[in-house]
Symmetry: D3
Subunit: 291 residues, 6 copies
């Protein structure tokens, strides 16, 4: 097949956010709703839609050269793969997710050791068993086909479940005992593919662009004009965060400042810049910020 | 809790058809979309919505007294339960479903023994492994999180998948090698609960009503008036199927015939009845046919 | 306009169930999704879709001759109308609904008198004020534009809300203090229209058919054949409920029994009939049962 | 292909109502949303989903043995086919539809002859041209790809459009000049297929069952008990419509009457029957009424 | 609760546009579809989803420190609150909305005084009554639960209704008599909270960012390169609108111009700039324009 | 009507993308879902929603001054119009679409001449007939009301169908014989309107803005800072594509480079720029790129 990179694309909750990220990175992907083969506008990439739970298995097998999936499922599948990059995005936000042990609010179970002999329902059976074994706790861990949160107290004594905000656990009157795994999205590679020079270079380029696009999600551009007298104060405000690009303006004594910063700090910074003398402040969006 | 029967109600593909069947059997069930506890208008029944895959496990455990699930999942869970009744209905039709081993049309795999060393994807991992072992075939059987039909040939060499009409297999260019399990819906009971006299009587009543409702799904009532001279011919047509109820009419020499028969035979029977002299033929729907 | 009956048809939660009831009563109604004028296949009826909350007002005014709405809104609007018939059906079931005062589970409010000086949110402002006044309780009653259940404890101290099963109150951790109104659906008439002979006859006919259809919702037909020897036992079982129609069969010594009974009693009756010797028992659905 | 009947099944607005009618006639049809080949539970029937507009063409060609479509499209396609049966049902109701010439309310066009030289938009180009020619009117008739009603006055001077209730025309401020075609659903056959004895018998059976089911849509069963003294009055009320079946009851002097009548007359009949002395009146639904 | 700002977030028609505006202002808000508490990524803000109609009442009460709602509902609730800022956006556009008195096209009502004794339906009962009283007009103003536009002429003689484009009024054949209120979105504060130094500063910062984001909705950035000879003409075109930032380019004699202007003027400006000698003209989007 | 430009706006598959393009070009368009008259925020433009198939006919007639439609339908309608501009966008992508002749994979038809006497189904009847005639091929070309791809082999021997990616043809086992038309979106004008000076200027301005917006869809802005020593290498990388704008920075020896380039080349360029010494590389989105 020559110069082809086989990529596992996560079907399901990660699919839409992954597709948007690739688009921002510069790849147009056509996904026909009836096909499992998304078409990239790069003929060197052959992608396949696969549930995130299974991608690591197929990357390990060598059926795929690489793929995007969660750290959780890499561990659950006990896949022996190269971890190329961590990409901090999930279904909705840009933060890692957590797998936690939870019990009903009024349960007598307070700590790991109270789980002894109890029934635990989870989709992450393998990792949970290994974790409990490592802590010396023996419990019955059963695979849950869904609706895990409503299983306690009748169908299970505790659950191991994924949570982003804790809202669903709270709504089901569950209390967190312990976080057993913090997981993010990973770009993983088959170890043999990673040794292939062409494939490795290809993967590194993709990862560079994905990271640039992901960085741009959290950053914005800020421009302003500053008169000479205010220059020092404004510079000191900005330099604390990121060294700005300074350009002379034709209007003597004025300079233009431009800086790329985290969107989060903008809302505190703007009132300060304004009172320090900056004028014509604007914020503009970015597609990519190359690290 | 005294006189309470705890019933597992199948969530998912069987849910809607099960709810309709219970309604026809005379039970009104309120299901709030946010709750997993359907409320029966019989206070002696406490139901819980659970995935069909898991019901047998909880009936075996004794968390539930009884439940409705597929024979397939009873076997997969290796549950030790009382099989109270077979109810021939599935998600859409009234026929049993099948689990088959399928491979790509152009695969070299022709029979069970060709599966040796191959990768098989399925949701029914346990039963499949046991089945292959019993046939002396060693293969890698992996759990599939969905979209099993599109896995061959890249992600699997063969699959074990549920099929009703074969349409989905055909659409994915798959060929059936072997049917390994024919499954229907079952009413199962916990063995201890079955020994409890009150619970057993309760379950037997529910099953009688469910069976009456299920029978009515496939049967219709037929009524007609017949003059004396035609009586013999019409009777012989009907008696071949089911002995009719004959009532005298006030109009001398005429009788009214009424019979409950399979809907399937009606379309062939009606033209014959008409030409045999029956008049005023009508067909009416039924709610229950008590066996 | 001559012989025309102007009817207010409830838009919103009662609309679908009212339309089904009229259909069963023998009226076909076309409702174009863009029109507020449902077209009856009876040219003597001119209907208009109006929110149940407002119908009583327009019947009182004489803009409408009659309408279907809840007792609750008749009282809220303080409408002076003729109450022609009570029809026990609501959005989903065939039972009356209740308006209750509810407070957070952990509220200190335990009884009516604790509401003194408190903020109460409700859609039923007028009736609530009048009710509290009659009990000598002074409180601030505010109109709520929706999502009333989530208002306590921040936006209100108590609410007055409609409930069928109590499920929504429970889900919002609210406790019922008092039921202040039990309401069903009513067919109401303008008092002047009621005195018009033609209009009154027309309304009485409609009500008779609606009641026949409503009765049929809760009843079924039961037929069976009984040999002479069992006749007495079967008759005594049935006669306790409803006197059956007995017809002779051509087969000597046998009779056919037919009875119209509440669907609710069927599930208990069938096992008894069977063991009493009845055979060929079937249950069939009804469109109308004329009272 | 031996004993196979090839049937064109109308895709689009007639599809759902046709499927329901076949179901009531006793045929179960599985339609996979991705397939154009509905599967009948009668292996002698091979069906294909085709737009109603095109079915007549393929029946004429002999690609299909028979099909269900509108009289309008049989004429538009100028298909030379056998008209086996007229079935009075459409997308929503049981009445024929009409094709009308319509113009803006304030148009100067008042009659057919005013259309001379005007632009007419329609989906029924061929029939419209022929019709106008037969009336000696020359106009420009253009094919309209949809939204025909909004074309006047800018994009067309008049339209020829299908209407059931006239509501859409009214909403677009259009006035009907002339009805040029009244159309219903037809079962048509290829003329050669109609001469094949087996195919003809098969088609006649299907049509008999479809007609029985269609008749049952508009009829209901009525049963009542009548004491001797009222018998004459009740009989005279019923006999005016349809001669009833009279059965003796075990209770001396009483008879049971049963009659199948149009649902439409029920609402007027019931009050009369009641006051004539009939008791225990019930109405029940029907599946088929064999003509 | 210390440093917490309690914010009322408008549920319903304003919700989506408000959420987008906050996002552009730099606040990420998670709204769980089952919760009434949107979570801001600023822990100092506690928000609650409340119908716009009610927010002013709760800000007045002090249950909330501040909120976003329409001027219309501030007046209707007669709330005594601090009007912090006017934000010109509505459900769909960036223009204020209007409440108008409308009557059927063919009504005899021509002016305010013709409303005497008439029935007026509206959701804005209080304000309408007050308005009419101030004009010396006595009429019956009734609360309308919805579908106000279809009430005339039967259920009301006139209505007071919200309109953006007049399209819905036109579609219902209504004619505007008088605009009685022009309303926009407002950021309002509880008067006591406004006196709290920390809360006031917090609110002012939020308002600054909301205004910056709102300004950016209507503005774009324009960049171009200009050779010395064209500089004067291009400058004069731009300066008429907004003074541009001028930077020297390395290419002698050329300058780069950049300006932030209303998107509306761009489509007229661009052809002029081009013919004046500007080259490499591009337009880019903005996130914020700090006023 | 004075200074008004009447514009045909394509309803259907092109509608959404055309609306987005106009928005980016600086025109806000309100489309009420119930109206066929989109309202532009430019009072000199009066638009009407018309199916793309018909627009050319109305532009030719002079009912419209101009419109956006496909080259395919201009040819099918044989419209005599001015082709003002080609705009390369379609329903989903920015590439032209193709009309092809396709046959079943296993058909004996291999080339145009094999179509002799065959049945061809298509929506593009006129163009297809003319094309075949020009090639000396006689075949039966029938209008297809939809689902053209499933017609072969029973209902047609070949089809002429529109394709973007070929996916749908492949899914229906069809093979392309010949591409008979490559089509893109066109801005067309009535020939008389084009001679009107004001209308022509207006159309040219609209086209300039549409083209600027379309160009911006495929281009991005790239900025970076470069130290003196790297300047040459970076410049040579960029200059190969597009000459960059170079500005001096206050930091001696550094320059800022800015360039507008095709998004497609970015993913290859970025790694090279980085290794050539550019720093602070960012990519930003554009609204318009004036050609």
């Amino acid at each position: 097949m020559g110069k082809i990179l086989k990529l596992g694309f996560p079907k399901g909750s990660l699919q839409e956010s992954t597709q948007k990220l690739f688009k921002k990175a510069g790849y147009n992907i056509s996904v026909d709703s009836r096909s499992y083969y998304p078409v990239f506008d790069d003929p060197e990439i052959e992608a396949m839609l696969i549930r995130a739970q299974e991608i690591a298995r197929y990357v390990d097998d060598g059926v795929l050269d690489c793929g995007l999936t969660g750290k959780d499922w890499v561990l659950e599948q006990e896949a022996d793969v190269k971890n190329v990059a961590e990409l901090n995005y999930a279904k909705e936000g840009l933060k890692p997710i957590k797998w936690v042990i939870a019990v009903p609010n009024n349960s007598k179970i307070k700590s790991l050791k109270d789980l002894k002999g109890k029934r635990i329902a989870t989709e992450l059976v393998g990792f949970t068993k290994k974790y409990l074994r490592s802590k010396g706790v023996r419990a019955k861990v059963n695979f849950s086909w869904g609706a895990t949160e409503v299983k306690p107290p009748y169908l299970a004594d505790a659950i191991v479940e994924l949570t982003e905000t804790g809202a669903s656990l709270k709504a089901n009157n569950l209390r967190i005992i312990k976080t057993i795994l913090v997981s993010n999205t990973r770009f993983i590679a088959n170890k043999k593919a990673w040794k292939d020079k062409w494939k490795r270079q290809k993967m590194e380029n993709i990862v560079l662009l994905l990271k640039s696009a992901l960085a741009a999600e959290q950053k914005v551009g800020l421009k302003m004009n500053v008169p000479g007298k205010s220059s020092k104060r404004v510079m000191s405000l900005l330099s604390a965060i990121q060294s700005p690009t300074v350009s002379p303006l034709s209007d003597k004594g004025w300079v233009a400042l431009e800086v790329i910063i985290d969107e989060k700090v903008v809302r505190d910074l703007i009132p300060k810049l304004k009172s320090a003398g900056a004028s014509g402040i604007i914020e503009y969006p970015l597609n990519k910020v190359i690290p």
